[in-house]
């Protein structure tokens, strides 16, 4: 009888310690998960920031200025443009041109 009691006591103590450990572990993991979440949010915001920055760098104003000043390009006009037309029924770059 005494032996069973001792055994049960041991079991109670062991599960209690285990419970504490699991609780601790779960909180630790949760806080890590939380940290990861907030990191993800930060990264998402960084993406947005960089996207805006990229957009600012590629704004028509800047592109035009660089093209004009650095690359010495100028605006095209219809006088120097050849317009290609596709047959209306099969539009698209793969459409086969009719050869006369």
């Amino acid at each position: 009888m005494t032996r069973i009691n001792a055994l049960l006591l041991l079991a109670v103590v062991a599960t209690a310690i285990y419970l504490v450990r699991v609780q601790y572990e779960s909180r630790r993991l949760f806080s890590e998960l939380d940290k990861a979440h907030s990191q993800a949010r930060h990264l998402a915001m960084d993406v947005e920031r960089l996207e805006v920055e990229k957009r600012a760098q590629a704004s028509p104003g800047r592109v035009e200025r660089l093209a004009r000043e650095k690359l010495e390009m100028r605006q095209p006009n219809p006088g120097i443009t050849t317009y290609m037309s596709y047959p209306a029924d099969k539009a698209g770059p793969t459409a086969k041109a009719d050869t006369p």
Partner: protein, 580 residues
Amino acid sequence: MSRSIQYTSSPLLASRTPVWRSKFVVAMIALGFTGLGARAAYIQIINNDFFQRQGVVRFARTIELPANRGRVLDRNGLILASSVPAASIWAIPEDVDMTPAQSQQLAKLLDMRVGDLDKKLADEDKTFVWVKRQVDSETAKAISALELKGIHQSADYLRQYPEGESAAHIVGFTNVEDKGQEGVELFFNQALTGKSGLRHVIKDGRGRVVEDVGAVVPPLPGEDVQLSIDSKIQFFAYQKLKEAVVNNRAHAGSVVVLDANTGELLAMANYPSYNPQKRTNLSGEQLRNRALTDTFEPGSVMKPFTIGIGLESGRIKPETVIDTAPGSISITGVTIRDAHPHGALSVEQIIQVSSNVGTTKIAMQLQPSEMWTTFAAAGFGERPHIEFKGAVSGRLRPYKTWRPIEQATASYGYGLSASLFQMVRSYTVFSHDGQIIPATLMKTDNPALGAPVFSADTAAKIRKMLHMAAGPGGTGPKAQTIGYSVGGKSGTAYKQIGKGYGSEGNRKYRSWFVGMAPIDKPRIIVGVMLDEPTGGQYFGGQVAAPVFSELVQHSLRIMGVQPDISVRPQIVSIAEDESF
């Protein structure tokens, strides 16, 4: 003997203890346990609420999950406005203890004067002072690297406008609280603003979140707003307008580019403008979206409407000849003049050379009610339905109060007023087979549903006249552009100075041009207005028409519209002289 207990058999230790003593000890222990039990019951059952609350106060926190403000996009999905993370710098003045070198460093990072910074931190009675709000994240990192005592940061958002000043009047801006103040940011503030979420958590002693309590309310991010603006056309429009204003030494200017099929606004720019990100020392001059908020007498731009009524009612035909000699006409004692006397003109030529006398003679055949009805149907005197706060209605007085001279002047655009945007929109009547279509700032793929003002036949006839006006012998030949046929009407008006229109040599002008291209099947309508050009030239056909020409050229190319008139191929390579 019976009242005592003997604990040992050793006679040496045989001191006798009274029984009551052991009973007393047992009773004491029992009392102790009862006390504990009672206390436990008190904590767990009777006063449980109080202790629960205390626990919550110490460990439970409610975290607000901020919702991002939606983005403003152009028709191709390019960003016109977006929120990026930023930091706001604040301080507890009492805790701040900086060396002069440190405060100089901080002031430099924050782009502030040291004096201003010191002044902010001087009042030690305050427990909280904003040093600077919405600092970009790089600066924030540099500041936290300084590890200054008493200087703190909190997360914030900063609105970025990559298109800068060219689209400033349309997009508008937000204040530090992220609330829209102008333009689209103001009009769509509710849709753009998200709803922040909530989260109840338990934090441990070190401030880490260890558990969620209850359900999380996720944040509802703001919706993106996609505009009909094409940022390439918008930029080009702003650029060309700016050049024109500067070259003609004008006071200000506006341009509007409208899609003639859908009623979408492709570009709307004003100069002077401002950078929505650096809004210090802004004046109303810069802030105003003139194209929508400033009205003026539309002048010659109205003539096609008067002629249209005549054509529609069958009173005149394009070939009908009207004698405009001697270049002036007297209506109830007031003389109306042409810039140059022309003699006999056909109706087409009246538009082509913009004859006030000819238009007046036609108007005298019309009823005031007819004119008023048509002008009102074309949107004059009515606030335009556009996604912008502050658009004005202009003025169109009821026809019952018109005197004959007023009917005459109204026929060529005086005595009523409209914004540039209203004028541009009114020209959809001619571009859209006689129907006026609603204009919008939102992207749409559906062709607009119009309300008929004229018949398609009349509209086509007027288009031909507008084409003549923008051609050789017209008032705006400078509106012509390579590859595309254009049509349009120029306008020049004296501005009011005090009570009159100034005297000869002391006049102020306003010049504009409104037209469309390609003329047979218009795709765009463009309006250009310059306020007080002082560079020597002031006729709409001279200062505004060239801007129109460039804008048509550029916009149609971006829209992928093929030229409708044959172009003489140009050889463009500029050969360098060969070196020997």
